[in-house]
């Protein structure tokens, strides 16, 4: 069975920032990949660096103050970090699209949905066809088709509506439609359900699953909500303090987490079935200007060993498709 092509391939990415206190070494060798029509989750708590990693993938990190001492970000084979601004502009919206947390702040309140969609369509068109401007009718039909594909009732009327007239769920659907109208191959969703009600969020997640199946796009879902991961992700990456600590099939990891951080995290999630809640993970997220050496989780880990302080463990395969970065599972020695 041939494997689907890799769309996004982040390899050993290091990102540093120059700040008042010194050098903030946020990402310390992050590797992840997303294949065509895959649903991948990127999980981590506040400050773990997942937003920085995504900004790097989108090419939106400004180079001072950001520094890239090592690593590459390959989008369909080309390194984003080495692209010219023109190339990055070309790829945005066409190869890769992104939707954010709060649909209200992502939409311009003084333009109708239709006007904003037409803008996006015209922009995408400019890159493909030979300079021919799309006609009004073409714009309308593309927009209506996109809005219908996200199951919005009465797409025609939606074109004339202003964002403030719509509910949160409808806005998020409209944003998804705008993100997908130029047929990107990868959609990055940054905590899209956080601002929405639980019942509405469930509907949006179902929509995304259907879109992956029908349109063949890949979805990278960034979230701190493990329940959302279970709902939508096939594979998941768990990040802590700028390092990927565990990755593999989502259901397997959630049922039987291996990395002590993942275990701590899962024990802290309240269950629908009740029961006793663990009291989180002792300690706090490290300061990136004085990050712990080796495995950055070691100060908070109940299984801390000397090796953990000296060198970061590399990802070891514990079963098919499951990788864990922890000396509890790897046979590594100092040789």
């Amino acid at each position: 069975m041939t494997e689907r092509p890799v769309l996004l391939d982040i390899r050993d990415l290091h990102v540093w920032f120059r700040v008042y206190e010194g050098l903030s070494k946020v990402l310390d060798g992050v590797s992840l990949h997303v294949r065509e029509a895959e649903r991948v989750g990127l999980v981590g708590e506040t400050g773990c660096g997942k937003t920085v990693a995504m900004k790097a993938a989108m090419g939106t990190l400004k180079s001072p103050p950001a520094l890239f001492p090592a690593g590459e970000v390959l989008l369909t084979g080309k390194d984003v970090l080495k692209m010219s601004p023109a190339e990055i502009l070309n790829m945005k919206g066409k190869t890769i699209a992104m939707i954010f947390q709060d649909p209200l702040s992502s939409l311009n309140p003084v333009f109708t949905i239709g006007q904003q969609m037409f803008d996006v369509i015209r922009y995408g068109h400019r890159r493909t066809s030979n300079g021919k401007r799309p006609t009004r009718a073409q714009l309308r039909s593309s927009a209506v088709e996109a809005l219908a594909s996200v199951r919005l009732p009465d797409p025609e009327r939606m074109l004339k509506s202003y964002p403030l007239e719509l509910s949160g769920g409808m806005r998020q659907r409209a944003l998804i439609a705008m993100a997908l109208v130029n047929r990107p191959r990868l959609l990055i969703a940054d905590e899209p359900g956080t601002a929405l009600d639980v019942t509405v969020q469930a509907q949006i997640l179902n929509l995304l699953k259907a879109l992956v199946k029908d349109a063949g796009i890949a979805v990278l879902m960034i979230t701190h909500d493990l329940g959302v991961v279970r709902e939508i992700a096939e594979r998941v990456y768990i990040m802590y303090a700028g390092q990927v600590v565990e990755t593999g099939p989502a259901a397997e990891i959630l049922d039987a987490p291996q990395h002590p951080y993942t275990q701590g995290l899962l024990a802290s999630v309240p269950r629908l079935t009740g029961g006793v809640l663990a009291e989180g993970i002792p300690g706090t997220v490290p300061d990136y200007t004085e990050a712990p050496s080796g495995c950055r989780f070691h100060p908070r880990c109940p299984h801390q060993m000397d090796r953990c302080v000296q060198r970061k463990p590399s990802l070891a395969e514990t079963s098919t498709g499951r990788l864990v970065s922890c000396y509890l599972y790897s046979e590594e020695t100092d040789e």
């Binding site: 708590e45 769920g169 639980v198 019942t199 469930a202 995290l265 999630v269 989180g280």
Partner: protein, 336 residues
Amino acid sequence: MSEPILGVENLVKYFPVRSGLLHRISGYVKAVDGVSFDVQPGEIFGLVGESGSGKSTVAKTVVQLYELTSGKIHFKGKDVTRLSKQTSKWFRREAQMVFQDPRSSLNPRRSIASTLEDPLIIYGIAKSRREREKIIRTLLQQVEMSSRYMYKYPSALSGGQRQRVAIARALAVNPSFLALDEPTSALDVSVQAKLIGLFVRLKEELNLSYLFITHNLSLIRTIATRAAVMYVGRIYELGPVDRLFNHPVHPYTKTLIAAAPVVTQEEERVKPRQMSKEGEVPSPVTPPSGCAFHPRCQLADSVCAEKLPELTEIELGHFVRCHHVALSTADEGSSE
């Protein structure tokens, strides 16, 4: 049952909507439209619902941040519906609130010490600056924070730490009741777990009672003793947490539980069947007639659109507001 510490009767809170050049009242946001419940001493009473349900407004009205439109509130046996200057001073030292957003619940331009000093100065709890500092250190200790943060500003603190300071501020007046409005919703899950542990400990140590507001059902299941489900300004189901989750009766409750994101397979298995059609939560400015859930409900019929069902007790302590459930329990008694 002992005397409740808080009793709320038919609480109604409408906010006027003003529009036009002369700012005339054009309508009302019916944030809370007839809510009744009580909180027993030492219990954690949960209030769950989605946006527009009115749960936050209930909390803010109970602590008298807003003046209610109609209804009654009793606290420790006293009628606190309209606060006089005297009762106000007493009530405010008994009932306090912790807010949701750690980014705005502390004044960014005041140091932690300055924020915590306020209640001490207002109520004359300490006579001198030295005494105040001592009390502030004790408060910080109580919420498990090092006193080295005393003179720092909120921007130097993490979300979890800011919430701890907000809790300390509420505890400064030595209250017996806390309204907690989504106190952990903006925090990471591991930080939330720590804070929940703190809340439970404080309740035991200081003999507190909580009104806990959240949209996170799993959280309510874990810590609350009883809970009420709100939808567009009204309570549609209320009861002991175990009954509510193991045997949910109202279609909206079932919908809510079915939509809750869960992490394990066993949680997935205990979920009830979805009972709603696809749709959005209605706005409290134009609530649907009769039972507000009827546009989305699979069991809805013409009666539901016309008449608002009453909140009826279907088993001890378990109340539901639904025509179809009331009918079935009525049927159980009759010969049919």
